[in-house]
Point group: C3
Chain length 438, copies 3
């Protein structure tokens, strides 16, 4: 028998689980959104990096031209040690829900049966539609390179989002400058040209229905206004590098990044795009790690570094994700004070239940309900939205049940409405606010 | 039906709720302690800054000469988005308990009825006495400017407390130096005069029953002993500024602040006043915000910065508040090791239930029970002590029930005694220890 | 009557409590492992520092030549204020379990009866065996000075561990250099000699069955490769100091520490010893404190400082303890990504229930189960392993019950197996992996 509070939580979860979602941040490829084999699913960096961490060599994982089935076979020989992780529980739930798996734990003894079974499902006609419906996904936001043509897909369902890390942090690479020139028709050889190129990117993206500009930022980045003179000197140094290694002096690199970031913020203002900031990641901390399993974070970061930016762009909405849970209280306070700061999901290393639970509780009790975007899946393949969102919805239901219904005496309906705001309503409110973009 | 643990928690809460309190930190005006209209209550910065954060313009909130009723009307058009916040739940509880409001949620549709109702209550004779009794308040500590005459009120009930931010951080302003000269009769033109002025302030305050000296400190402040020579040079620079803008060079400002802070600590030792330190606030981070809604905090701060001070003044008691919950573990450890450090309440951005719950649990399990001052209301108007203290007492009762009664097997009476220590006993122990001050 | 979840937790606890343990970090003296009187037990720094913090003078606690009974008498006059602490609950559980104490709270009124009673127990033949059996201790790791002869005890039961703080941080002291020369037969007068000396230490320790090298590190320490030239200059400066005060210039001290630390890591690789890193402690922050009650921590530290080390030594296992709970998420992420990082217990100021609970939850949900060493007692006397491990096992049982059995639907058996991994299995896996050391 179930306790009263567990029953309450279940009722709330079931209601929240009916809501159709717009997933506001993913890495899904619009032209290839779903998995083809179990190797696509288990090739997700969470599984490869955890297997590697538990002792599997990178060579074994990343051998070239390895067959999907063989890849899965190898991985299953190393999944025992990760059976406790929440990432593994996502995989189990995914198999139960999408592949009707009901044979209990999946391991090295029975993976082949799952492999066959999943293959049947994955090749069915309309799999993408089926997964989206079953996952209650109405649309997903993409993460598009700045030179993505954005063609060949329904941009209402697969919503473009301009990712700008390359521009801000890698313009010293010849390949990036070449891509910029090819995609905009302008050589980034002067500040003026650079500004024209940025305008053309924003025009291209907003015409194709982009709903956000996004960037991930290292912990030591501090946005600041840079003089044209400083920027020009830094750009000139940058242009002298004719290869792909970033060889800018560290101070020039900082100046150029700050300049470009500021110019992007100006365009977010002009083209009315929210600017997603994902703060705190350190890239390639473990260069011997598997693909996408090399980055970590630094909890020594402060949102105070963003004060100048937030004050300078009062009309730009900044959905902010922080990588370190210890920065969550700053995020709560900034979102409580600054009208243009909204909280955005639970990112990466903070996307595990105990961190979500405490970060969510702190947000729900102190930030206006219209300023919290509860969750995004960050998924590379459609199949992961279901288990990741469910994890979040379980925690959300629990928090609503205990804090709002049981402690504050709210009705269940009131609690569900709050849940709706953070799951769906605010995605519309924040990313779809402007109806007539150019 | 209520679970056993919920019933236990309720019994403990009811006992704790009987205790008469001395609120050890408020911003209440002794000569005008209560609200006159609902506009005073909803003018509290929590409501104006949250409404502003949710989209209401500062101009609408802070228009000059606006009538109280009109102010409340405007605010209620923007309170929908903040109905989830704990601050809103304080308001609701306040209305239920003090204005007998029993018509459910308060919103733009029914605020006028509440306005009338509250006006009746607020103008009744003896409202101050009634609120204090109902809130179980025996006395409240004030926050007095250094030049406050401290006259016209019962200092046993409204207890003076010398606030020293202006002296330490704003002596470069001519207006502050003028106020210091007027209130002490000494021009702060030399170090010696400054010391005489400080003595006169402490004599004035302790004669009028002051129980604490208090200051709020930015995260980059590090108390340290400064040589007279350095201090003299910095003071001379300071004296050359004849207007109200702080124009001290940043290094002189730091030296002068450190010097003055140290001199205050010496006087706390001599005049036997606890020195309340409120650590971590950054002022005017969002200068376009509403009144009192412009400050934030930096979680990049360490109590290690205070080691020299704590070692230098072993006989001064330092009740310490930290603004960032991530600093709470340092506070716990410092209070566990240093005899002169006591924990002091849950301040501002850490004064929401989820942060209180985790910070309180960490304190109760590791700091001597005689060294924890549980809570202060920080209120500007008397009416807020009730809901804020109740929030705290609910969390305290829950922690005592689960950790002490259920896990450790304490009797309910033992748990209540511990609750009494942190709610009331330690306020007396720490602020009323010395019976014969000069 | 007990709720279903409480009953589940109790069943899990009872199973976990049967597991025989290898305590992977203690300060126990192999030749004198148990207490002789209650003064040994209550002389543990937790009790003396908390009594001092609550008002007892150091002089009273540390008076020379004080009789054990008198020491206990004095302490009991000051233990009232610490009755709420978890440290006190360890003492109470210890008395109940090891001295059959069943007369309820222990205080100044009845301590003498406990003193007599405990004296009877402590002098019984086979007390060490009895305590170990009752505490489910199969073996305990020691903390040995580098010049410990490691003789006169069973190294399977009392397992040597090479503690290296003195070498890395105190080589500027003549006494440390003398000890190094005496114990290795080599004068540390050149870099080459130093390397020979280190080799001899590792040979001595591994021959005597050492299972780990260990060190505690201040928050501003950053391991890095140092050139021989730099190291030579720093060593030369070091050798010129002929007394026990560290007089090295701060930059030379840093270089020498970094050099020595790196050389130790090289030997951990060569001699296949895990290198326990205990990160974050600041020594002598409160120099007027009681013995071992003077150190604190700084939460301003980042594991990013260890990235170079972790990349440079992929075959060395680093069991890492962090002193600040706010660093736990970094530890989780590093252990999730780096194959050579494992989490190690809950250290000192993070060894209280609320921090253990949140840190443990974050580890269990994201780190491979084979890479988590749940707990060590850090005890100075055998008697403390029982209550400290029980505290941990209670929290572990609770987390397993709620997160794994109730939320994820695991069987109780599965949950117990995960508990076994973190309590016992991983200690073997990590410290006993290499069967044939030189």
């Amino acid at each position: 028998i179930m306790s009263e509070s567990a029953a309450l939580k279940e009722r709330l979860f079931n209601e929240l689980d009916q809501i159709f979602l717009i997933d506001p941040h993913t890495h899904i490829m619009a032209n290839d959104p779903a998995s083809r084999t179990l190797a696509d699913i288990l090739g997700y960096h969470y599984y490869t990096e955890l297997a590697h961490s538990a002792g599997m060599s990178r060579e074994k994982i990343e051998e070239a031209d390895i067959e999907p089935r063989e890849k899965v076979r190898r991985l299953f020989q190393h999944f025992g040690p990760i059976s406790n992780t929440v990432q593994w529980s996502w995989f189990e739930e995914l198999c139960r829900e999408l592949f009707d798996w009901s044979d209990g734990p999946i391991d090295a003894s029975n993976w082949e049966s799952l492999y066959e079974r999943s293959a049947e499902f994955l090749k069915t006609d309309g799999w993408v539609n089926h997964v989206m419906k079953k996952s209650r996904l109405e649309a997903v936001f993409l993460t598009n390179d700045f030179d993505d043509p954005l063609e060949g897909f329904d941009t209402n369902r697969f919503v473009p989002c301009l990712r700008t890390d390359d521009i801000v942090f890698h313009l010293a690479k010849q390949s990036v400058r070449d891509r910029l020139e090819r995609s905009t028709g302008v050589s980034p050889s002067t500040l003026q040209n650079l500004e024209v190129a940025l305008d053309r990117l924003f025009i291209h993206f907003t015409k194709r229905g982009a709903r956000a500009c996004a960037i991930s930022l290292p912990p030591d980045f501090t946005p600041t206004r840079v003089s044209d003179h400083e920027a020009r000197v830094a750009l000139d140094e940058c242009l002298r590098s004719h290869h792909d290694q970033a060889v800018l002096s560290s101070s020039s690199a900082k100046i150029l990044s700050a300049f470009l970031f500021w110019k992007l913020a100006e365009r977010c203002r002009e083209y009315q795009l929210p600017f997603d900031l994902m703060i705190g990641v350190r890239r390639r901390v473990y260069p011997a790690g598997v693909h996408q399993g090399q980055d970590l974070f630094d909890s020594q970061v402060s949102l105070m570094q963003y004060a100048e930016l937030l004050n300078a762009f009062p009309t730009v909405v900044f959905p902010i994700s922080v990588l370190a849970s210890v920065t969550n209280q700053e995020l709560v306070a900034f979102s409580w004070i600054f009208p243009n700061v909204v909280t955005h999901g639970h990112w990466w290393y903070s996307n595990t239940p105990s961190f979500i639970a405490r970060d969510l509780a702190a947000r729900l009790e102190a930030i206006p309900r219209t300023k919290q975007i509860g969750y995004y899946s960050d998924a590379y393949k459609l199949e992961f939205a279901l288990p990741k969102f469910r994890m979040y919805k379980q925690i959300l239901a629990d928090t609503l049940a205990r804090t709002f219904v049981m402690e504050r005496g709210w009705s269940e309906q009131q609690a569900i409405e709050l849940g709706h705001d953070v799951l769906r309503g605010n995605v519309e409110r924040i990313f779809y606010a402007t109806s007539n973009r150019r």
